[in-house]
């Protein structure tokens, strides 16, 4: 799940919590737990705003998260690559 979130955030500049929930099909609670964990380790940056008096939380991939994702993808390439 966190790999999918990191890849999504690397593809798009920023995604709202509700859009992430829609794309991943996760529940509020489960997605919230993943996002909190990713925020704690510095993988994502969080921005909050109000739209029509409702809070909207935006997430973007932080430089630490991008480095971790690159390392993870390199490891996957090594796993599936030739040789």
């Amino acid at each position: 799940m966190r790999l999918a979130i990191a890849v999504l955030l690397s593809r798009w500049d920023r995604l709202s919590f509700s859009r992430l929930r829609e794309l991943t099909g996760e529940t509020d609670g489960s997605l919230g737990a993943h996002m909190r964990r990713m925020e704690e380790v510095g993988y994502v940056s969080v921005d909050k705003e109000f739209r029509d008096r409702k809070p909207v939380t935006w997430y973007a991939l932080a430089p630490t998260g991008r480095r971790a994702l690159d390392a993870h993808l390199r490891a996957l390439e090594d796993l599936i690559g030739p040789g």
Partner: protein, 185 residues
């Protein structure tokens, strides 16, 4: 690779593909339906004002479309400068090519120039359909069919008005087939 890793990567691919199934905001297609309706019909009624109209409406429509697109991305909760830039480069490229063609055209050959511009519009919609918004491919086909039909409408009293109606109707249909309202999530 283990079945678990395979299934994880399959899930990641599915989620990313879902995020990329982007539709165009209906407001943009309606805006261009209105601009095209007036702009192409003008060739029948006020041919001397067509250039100025497209210069003003084309640039204004482009700026307004960019604003509507960014507003939609914000409302959807999915923003990407790179995607916005790709759309802008595509449509700006088409606009500049049309401007250069019209600017360098011989004043005595307004009708052939207008038809060539319509063919460029068809190509622009087709390429937008292939690379940006799939529903626009059909607009490319419709505009190309209109271009072909115009060659056979020599004796028809208002050929460009008929073409304008066809293109505007096509954009409205495309807005329901592949567009989304700005406030939709």
């Amino acid at each position: 690779m283990s079945p678990d890793a395979n299934s994880d990567l399959g899930y990641v691919r599915e989620v990313v593909q879902r995020s990329e199934r982007q539709a165009m905001p209906r407001e943009i297609l309606w805006l261009w339906a209105a601009i095209s309706l007036v702009g192409f019909a003008l060739i029948d009624f006020e041919p001397e004002r067509v250039g100025l109209y497209w210069l003003v409406a084309g640039v204004g429509g482009f700026v307004l479309s960019a604003w509507l697109g960014s507003r939609r991305a914000h409302a959807t909760g999915q923003e990407s400068r790179e995607t916005g830039r790709r759309h802008q480069l595509h449509w700006a490229g088409m606009g500049v090519a049309i401007f250069l063609l019209a600017f360098s055209a011989d004043g005595s050959s307004a009708q052939p120039t207008a038809r060539t511009i319509l063919l460029m519009v068809a190509l622009g919609y087709w390429l937008a359909g292939v690379h940006l918004v799939p529903a626009l491919k059909w607009m490319g086909v419709l505009a190309a069919a209109t271009y072909v039909a115009l060659a056979f409408l020599e004796g028809f009293p208002y050929p460009w008005t008929a073409a304008a109606i066809a293109i505007a109707a096509g954009l409205v249909v495309a807005s329901f087939a592949g567009g989304t309202a700005g406030a939709e999530r």
